[in-house]
């Protein structure tokens, strides 16, 4: 009996953790104990099978995935797709708790086995959501000790965005960098960019970063829109709980549990895009989603979901002239016609440039009588670039993305659930890194085995990356030019150009005319874009590995991770709630020398970490939490990151939060081991000592690029590369006011970064002696990661207001600001607008039988200067309007939605060198979308 009592007690505690808010007072525990006692005695009684239906009281539609639990006991179930449920209870009478996000929680006392008909009343209050990620335990969003944003499946359902990822763009303080239709990188609090290294994305607890390519692939792999349960976003530093990387935020996407959400769901979305596009004709957009989940018996459930997107991609079409200096530069005036050295931002192949005075000198030597004339043309460098090809001519316009995931869930006990899940994603997309990369037939798979208990979890997963036929568009196009006509040599492109230029000048034509004549002459034989010859050469180059003078990545880097967490609160709650966890991570770099310095074999990188969190309620109003995490990477010294938070309850539903957070990141796998030659012959290398030794930095020293350019070479020595870290303070308030009709969330923060990881350009003499530095031909430029000695400071604030109007109308407004403190230019790549604003008016159900829904969102952001490895440039202010209108057909469980992203079709870019995004107009049909 005693054993039985204990068991029941623990189950109850589990229940209390998951379905309600953490119960802590001793009074509560006594109650629980009594309830448990009753429960265990009742085990002797005859079980009764209850069944019923839950309907929305406002429109009589069935509500699915509603939690039906037994008050004061363990166990429970969920409604199915038709709102029906069945539940075996130990005895009668029993009190059922019926709850679901967006509805008022009800209690129902069942006295007999008659069918139960629940009229579920939509909740009319804001801020009732429960979040998990802020403290790694469930808590009301109003009581989160740090700023957190949550996007529920209901919010996704009513969002105007064509893809759920786009919903993130309307969250306060979020910047979304769009490298492609399906490649979007969210960031918060600055330092944005494609594949942001300072922002973690976790999907069902798994790090979503491609281990070799170093970008989060949430838009490529991950869960189907129909399988998204919730998205939680922690802006700002969050390493203390989630480990290295989350310096600027952590995004957690959770999928639906098949026990809870089952049935068949389908969503078919067809749209049109590229209307009035300068470069592309209008073309269709297809997005098909499918999800099926089923519970078999009481213990087994499975789900499968797919998400397929096919469209012609947004096109990067910035053809302005770019002044490239290593990987820094800026947009300058001039066109292909006016500037012989033109290098268009999204024009590739024209990065190859040379001073044709070398050709002039050859002609002058042959024809000395022309020497004075040639000399008069050679007063300054005559830099000429090869003729490039536009992005649309080299990058496959078809963006295809297939995402599939499946999971088997098995309840080992009523509290412990085992699951085996697989997530695969494959397709074509485009990424902006140091160059533009066409990710062609990229595939990434993640496999996970997880044991989940309310008090603990154990998770093991692996990420298997295969770059497929991905290639560097810039490098490939440059090499294509070398194939059809080599740049150098006596008969090379530049020789032909220089000679034709001089020949033209000798007829008296102007400089500009001579240049265009010379280009025409040197371009004889240039394969026309799209021609069979072009395709043949291009395919030949892009399918040759980078290590063999091609453009292909052979990246098959993998990640293995094991982690676990235990909530010790059941033992320690008299003193504090304590949570401990640990993980071990292993990267296996495998690019066959095409990306990493791994031509001799794979490179392993081991990392482990452990964390502990203690929280304690002090009096009624104050809750303090302390967390700390220690991580060690084999290539770097260990790091400890603490976090302290305080939540002060002013009144019920009104809380002030204060937090001190730290975060850090180990240099990415690329910042450790990359070994790649990019545009202009610059070698990007990783920061590990082995690479510096390989390139003999100690015996043949390197000099800072700036000093070499100033003709006063200064030796640059590198300290051991250290992890980058940030300390951040945040003060915030979240509360319901005005009769709970207005939800206010406001925060302000300050961040201070140390050992900021930057790339330094250094020069080594190819001749081995410093004298060689004076000749550009003898300079080998390296880009080496190092820690900036400059402290980088940021600060900002955000304000969110949600106002509930009568009849379900909700007005929302959020405004956020992020500012980078004064630092020397070129260090930070902050890349965030100082101000941004979102305004929304929405109603998920109104009108005839509450069948109508709509959502209009206006977004504005201020201009800012974007600095990226690929391109720098001013991003003008952006204004967009997204809107959707939907109509429900409850009889057939369907909804039809008309929507538009960028309704005004006003093309914009949100990062330099990235594509121009226009309007996407769609109509979607959803069956059983919940």
């Amino acid at each position: 009996m005693l054993v039985g009592l204990e068991k029941s007690y623990f189950n109850l505690d589990h229940y209390s953790k998951t379905k309600s808010f953490v119960m802590r007072t001793s009074v509560y525990h006594s109650l629980l104990f009594l309830a448990a006692l009753a429960c265990s005695f009742s085990a002797l009684a005859q079980p009764v099978k209850l069944s019923g239906t839950v309907r929305d009281n406002s429109n009589q539609q069935a509500v699915q995935a509603v939690s039906i639990s037994i008050k004061g006991a363990s166990g429970g179930t969920y409604t199915d797709a038709n709102g029906n449920f069945q539940l075996v209870v130990p005895r009668l009478p029993v009190t059922l708790i019926i709850s679901s996000i967006g509805f008022e929680t009800q209690e129902y006392i069942a006295n007999d086995a008659a069918a139960i008909d629940i009229k579920f009343i939509p909740a009319s209050t804001l801020g009732q959501e429960v979040v998990v990620s802020a403290s790694r335990t469930p808590e009301r969003i109003l009581e989160s000790p740090v700023t957190i944003e949550r996007v529920s499946s209901a919010a996704i359902r009513n969002a105007p965005a064509a893809s759920f990822y786009d919903v993130l763009a309307n969250i306060k303080g979020v910047d979304l960098v769009t490298s492609s239709l399906t490649f979007k990188t969210p960031s918060t609090r600055g330092f944005t960019g494609s594949g942001n290294l300072r922002f973690n994305q976790l999907v069902d607890g798994m790090d979503n970063q491609a281990p070799g390519l170093n970008f989060a692939v949430g838009g490529v792999i991950g869960v189907s829109e129909l399988d998204v349960e919730s998205i939680e976003l922690l802006p700002g530093a969050s390493s203390a709980l989630y480990g290295p990387g989350g310096m600027n935020g952590t995004l957690l996407i959770n999928s639906k549990n098949p026990f809870r959400s089952n049935g068949l769901s389908v969503q078919i979305k067809h749209g049109i895009m590229h209307i009035d596009d300068n470069e592309r004709d209008p073309s269709p957009y297809y997005n098909w989603n499918f999800r099926y989940a089923k519970t078999i018996g009481q213990k087994f459930a499975f789900k499968i979901s797919t998400d397929f997107i096919h469209a012609r991609d947004w096109l990067a079409q910035d053809y302005r002239n770019y002044l490239r200096l290593g990987t820094v530069g800026n947009v300058i005036g001039g066109t292909r016609e006016s500037d012989p050295n033109y290098d268009g931002v999204n024009v590739y192949g024209d990065e190859t440039t040379a001073d044709i005075r070398a050709v002039f000198a050859g002609v002058a030597a042959q024809a000395p009588f022309l020497a004075p004339f040639i000399s008069s043309l050679s007063g300054q460098a005559v830099n000429v670039s090869r003729t490039g090809y536009l992005e649309r001519e080299v990058v496959d316009p078809n963006t295809v993305n297939f995402r599939g995931s499946g999971a088997l869930h098995y309840k080992l006990t009523s509290a412990t659930e085992a699951s085996l899940a697989a997530y695969i994603g494959t397709g074509n997309t485009v990424y902006t890194g140091s160059d533009r990369y066409s990710l062609k037939n990229l595939s990434i798979a993640q496999y996970k085995l997880e044991l989940n208990n309310p008090n603990w979890f154990l998770r093991a997963y692996t990420t298997q990356e295969d770059a497929g036929e991905s290639f560097n568009a810039t490098v490939t196009t440059r090499l294509l030019n070398e194939v059809w006509k080599p740049s150098g040599g006596a008969t090379g492109w530049f020789a032909q150009y220089g000679q034709a230029y001089l020949a033209s000048r000798l007829t008296g034509v102007t400089d500009a005319t001579a240049h265009s004549a010379a280009r025409a002459a040197a371009d004889v034989g240039r394969p026309a874009p799209g021609s069979a010859e072009f395709k043949q050469i291009f395919d030949q180059v892009r399918s040759r590995p980078i290590s063999q003078n091609g453009g292909l990545f052979l990246d098959k880097t993998d990640l293995y991770n094991v982690e676990g967490q235990y909530n010790l609160s059941q033992f320690t709650n008299g003193f504090a709630d304590i949570l401990v966890g640990a993980n071990f991570k292993k990267y296996v770099l495998n690019s066959e020398g095409t990306l990493f310095a791994d031509s001799a074999g794979t490179i392993g990188i081991n990392e482990f970490g452990a964390y502990v969190q203690a929280s304690r309620q002090i009096a009624d109003r104050l809750k303090l939490t302390l967390s700390g995490r220690y991580d060690k990477n084999q290539n770097f010294e260990g790091r400890f990151t603490p976090r302290a938070t305080a939540l002060f309850k002013i009144t019920e539903n009104n809380n002030v939060r204060f937090s001190y957070q730290t975060a850090y990141r180990f240099p990415s796998t690329q910042q450790q081991w990359i070994n790649l030659t990019v545009a202009g012959g610059v070698k990007l290398i990783g920061g590990v000592q082995e690479l510096k030794d390989f390139y003999r930095f100690s015996s043949n020293p390197v000099y800072s690029l700036g000093s070499v350019q100033m003709r006063d070479p200064k030796v640059r020595t590198f300290d051991v590369l250290k992890p980058e870290s940030v300390k951040s303070y945040e003060l915030g308030y979240k509360g319901l006011v005005a009769d709970k009709r207005l939800l206010i969330d406001v925060y302000g923060y300050r961040g201070s970064y140390t050992n900021f990881i930057v790339r330094d350009f250094v020069v080594q003499s190819k001749t081995g002696s410093p004298a060689g530095l004076s000749e550009p031909a003898n300079q080998q430029i390296y880009s080496v990661p190092s820690n900036s000695g400059t402290k980088v400071k940021t600060y900002g604030f955000g304000l969110g207001l949600d106002y509930r109007l009568p009849r379900n109308f909700v007005l929302s407004c959020n405004f956020a600001s992020d500012v980078l403190g004064d630092i020397p230019a070129g260090i930070a790549s902050f890349n965030a607008p100082k101000y941004r604003l979102n305004l929304a008016l929405a109603n998920a159900s109104f009108g005839f039988q509450n069948r109508l829904g709509f959502n209009v969102v206006y977004k504005w952001q201020e201009a800012f200067f974007y600095e990226g490895d690929f391109a720098n440039g001013t991003i003008p202010p952006i204004h967009t309007v997204d809107a959707q209108f939907s109509y429900k057909l409850p009889d057939i469980k369907s909804v039809i939605k008309f929507g538009a992203n960028n309704l005004l079709n006003d093309y914009y870019r949100n990062a330099a060198g990235n594509p121009s995004i226009g309007g996407l107009y769609y109509i979607s049909y959803g069956y059983n979308v919940f």
Binding site: D318, R320, N321, V331, I332, G333, G334, T335, S338, D339, V363, Q366, A367, P368, F369, L370, A371, P372, F373, S376, Q499, L502, A503, R505, L506, T507, G508, V509, T510, A512, T513, L801, Y803, L805, L811, C813, F815, Y835, L837, L839, L841, V856, Y858, W860, E862, A863, T874, P876, P877, I878, H879, T880, V881, L903, L904, D906, Y907, Y908, R909, S916
Partner: protein, 408 residues
């Protein structure tokens, strides 16, 4: 109306009346903001140099009657004349006016068509134009001049066509005057929309023969010719000066050719001295020397082979050649040493000393002095066609002088 400035105002209002604000703003979004995104901000293009408007070179030739002779010459040249009306070009044209033609002996426009063949007209008109902008300010004052390509390409229309072949013209400038080749410019810096006009005092005729064609045939240069051939003994190809001096395109020389008498004088004196030193009586020595030196074959005389070795004679020859084309007008007005081709073998050699006196833009007297000569040698000034100084050839200019220059 892009919103940047109005944000603050909006937020003030928001506090007062949120609902109104939202609706108003959403409406505004839909209707007002249509064209707000400025995707690619303009960047200032590199400022292109504005071209002067007005008449082209062709307009000047065609419309200004001061150039009607040249207009007639252009007409005679036909389609192969330079495209002076092409405003896409940047040229400098040394266009002779009617007086320049008269100074050359063409009395009237009527005879232009008959005095010049079409080939000559093509050559003269193209030779007058250099494919670059050379305002007077850009014409150098340094010795000797600026070698400029012209539109006259002797390979044009031949199978051996090369765009890098061009006959050069040689503009120069000093304190008081400017010239093209050795011809003074009487007007300069006439600006056209596609170039600049300078007017030479006399019609400028392109050279058509090589230095060697003159040296090898002129009866008063037989000693110099013999000296060149003696110096070339044992050499082949362009190591031979008879080849180099006959190469129409490439070399660029000034050759000071001593007269036969000058050679006879110095040879006689030298041989006489040598014979006396060997014990011959002065009278016999003088008679023998005179006989030996009376013919250019003296350079090939076996008796003198040990004295007039090929190397010695070649040294003497190259001491008479400059590696630049110096017309008499390019010579300095104060005695100035200038390196000769001898300096390529003996870099420290002082070279020759050049000096010229001017009357107006024309040279009245000019000298060149060898290092071992007691007195300067005179350039025999007669720049008229087929004269003795400023004889212009494809590969250089030739001045006759009255002494042999002695390097040591």
């Amino acid at each position: 109306m892009c919103f940047k400035k109005s944000i603050k105002v909006i937020f003030m209002q928001q506090v007062k009346n949120k609902s109104k604000f939202f609706f108003a703003l959403l409406a505004a979004c839909a209707f007002v903001l249509g064209a707000c995104n400025r995707e690619f901000e303009d960047t200032p293009a590199t400022a292109a140099l504005a071209k002067p408007g007005g008449s082209s070179l062709g307009d000047i030739v065609n419309n200004d009657t001061a150039y009607s002779f040249f207009k007639a010459l252009v007409a005679k040249a036909g389609p192969l004349a330079p495209a002076l009306s092409n405003t896409g070009l940047e040229l400098t044209a040394f266009i002779p006016n009617n007086n320049s033609f008269r100074a050359f002996g063409v009395p009237s426009v009527a005879v232009v068509g008959t005095n010049f063949s079409q080939a000559a007209a093509v050559a003269i008109t193209n030779y007058a134009v250099t494919p670059q902008l050379l305002p007077l300010e850009k014409i150098p004052t340094t010795f000797p001049n600026l070698q400029s390509p012209t539109l006259l390409n002797p390979t044009a229309g031949t199978p051996a066509f090369s765009p890098f072949v061009s006959l050069s013209i040689f503009p120069s400038k000093r304190a008081t005057a400017a010239w093209v080749n050795n011809i003074p410019l009487v007007a300069t810096n006439i600006i056209a929309s596609n170039g600049i006009v300078h007017v030479p005092a006399v019609l400028v005729i392109p050279p058509s023969a090589t230095l060697w064609s003159k040296i090898s045939t002129d009866p008063d240069m037989t000693y110099f010719r013999a000296a060149v051939i003696r110096g070339d003994s044992g050499q082949v190809g362009t190591a031979r000066f008879d080849s180099l001096l006959n190469l129409p395109i490439g070399p660029n020389f000034t050759v000071f050719v001593p007269t036969n008498v000058a050679f006879q004088q110095i040879l006689t004196a030298q041989i006489t001295g040598a014979l006396i030193a060997q014990g011959m009586s002065p009278a016999d020595a003088a008679a023998t020397a005179t006989a030996l030196a009376s013919t250019p074959t003296v350079f090939a005389n076996p008796l003198l082979a040990r004295v007039l070795t090929p190397q010695t004679v070649k040294g003497l020859v190259v001491y008479h050649i400059l590696g630049v084309r110096a017309f008499s007008v390019n010579l300095p007005t104060t005695a100035t040493p200038v390196p000769t081709l001898l300096n390529s073998a003996v870099p420290s050699h002082p070279g020759v000393v050049l000096n010229a006196s001017f009357t107006g833009p024309s040279v009245s007297a000019a000298t060149v002095k060898g290092a071992a000569n007691a007195t300067p040698s005179n350039l025999l000034i007669n720049p008229a066609p087929a004269g003795t100084s400023d004889q212009h050839y494809l590969n250089g200019v030739l001045h006759k002088i009255n002494q042999v220059l002695r390097p040591q």
